[in-house]
Symmetry: C2
Subunit: 217 residues, 2 copies
DNA sequence: TAAAACAAACAGTCTATACTGTTTTTATAT
DNA sequence: ATATAAAAACAGTATAGACTGTTTGTTTTA
């Protein structure tokens, strides 16, 4: 009787919580924050409303936990990517593509849902800021690889990373109003070439042949 | 009896509508889309709820009109800026600063409020897309000034403008989670210098001394 | 006098949370 | 090993509040 489906309470509740968080993230991505309701979350997670309120006192608790969950998952994914490539010969292009995919594959869409809430809800902000900082730390790690490989000043490399991330955020935001793959591919090409040449010169000196037109190898 | 406050109906209703739109934009900026209610808009505009529903059938109509209003106002402001500087000797730095101020002074905060709604509301999107495109057209105009002055390829200049706007969008988004003026000043300096040097070379060839450290003149 | 602008009340829906009851698990004593 | 008490997990319902869209009534303008 204890072998098959017998799970401890902590396992069960952890499972339930995970279901709720994944459902919440899914609903944030598909329907958005303004349409997010607790009944919808319970239904999407295939959990009763009672179970939902048992684990999370308020709706805000659910959202905070869900965003934490997604960001920490992204951090873990990134750390694994870092470990796998710490010794390997990884190019600027590859890291750029990794970061772009990370953002464009839903992560920043979900971010755009809760980011406004952060402006208007101090508690929400207080609870999430540490997670966001952890996320950025993991980005710095991945960037340090490229920074070391090209013997670039870490200080300057960080500025370039930040610019890259801001650029990508703005690009993802624009994908909502502009469905135009070519347009974004062109921007990515432009940026890849710019970075490639900056790093080739150890960041910051003598970037040459910086055309906006470029085809990937 | 007709001299003092006697205004024609169209004037009155136009005034009321403007009050409603400005109130809506204000509430979007201060409280956000998820907290936006029609009673709150009426109160902020100092107008009865009946007046509100008289002029706008649904809440969505109000928001669409308000966003249109704000964007068209931004377009007008930009066009005036263009006219005033079409002949003047305007630098890359000045345009960059203009664009940054335009975005950072609330415009993109409000955008971040309705942008998610656009992902989930097809009608809302359909109605707003033309206005957004008009906004981008006016940006292209201002950019054309600098493009001509530096004899840069308009095609490449457009890519650089788009990258600039995406960068700024991402930066404004990040200001929500990171209150750090120095950080954003550094990014702006980095970008100004990059553009300055790119334009100095007619866009795209031989950017030298591209440091992330820079002080403004 | 007709139409537009405005005001106010209303009806229906929805949502978040609190509350009550039930089942399952765990710890403990035997 | 087993019985039992306690605690946690879960399910379902009730309720209070709020918001939207509508409708009806009143004032002002053309």
């Amino acid at each position: 009787m204890t072998g098959r489906t017998a799970r401890t309470q902590v396992e069960k509740s952890a499972e339930t919580r995970r279901r709720i968080m994944e459902a919440t993230v899914r609903l944030l991505q598909w329907q958005g924050y303004s349409r997010l309701t607790t009944p919808a979350i319970a239904k999407e997670a295939d959990v009763s409303r009672g179970a939902l309120t048992h684990h999370y006192a308020t709706k805000e608790d659910v959202v905070v936990a869900a965003v934490e969950y997604q960001l920490k998952e992204a951090i873990e994914t990134t750390r694994r990517y870092v470990e796998q490539n710490a010794d390997k010969d990884i190019s600027v292009d590859e890291i750029i593509d990794y970061l772009w995919r990370l953002m464009a594959d839903g992560l920043f869409y979900v971010t755009l849902e809760w980011l406004p809430e952060m402006r208007h809800n101090a508690l929400f902000k207080t609870r999430l800021i540490p997670v966001v900082q952890g996320f950025h730390s993991s980005l710095n790690e991945i960037w340090a690889i490229i920074s070391r490989r090209y013997h670039a000043d870490p200080r300057q490399a960080e500025v370039v990373l930040n610019a890259t991330m801001c650029l990508f955020r703005g690009m993802v935001a624009q994908t909502i109003v502009r469905k135009d793959t070519e347009y974004f591919d062109e921007l990515l090409s432009f940026w890849r070439q710019l970075l490639r040449q900056m790093f080739a010169n150890g960041l910051g000196i003598d970037i040459s042949a910086c055309s906006t037109r470029e085809e990937r190898s």
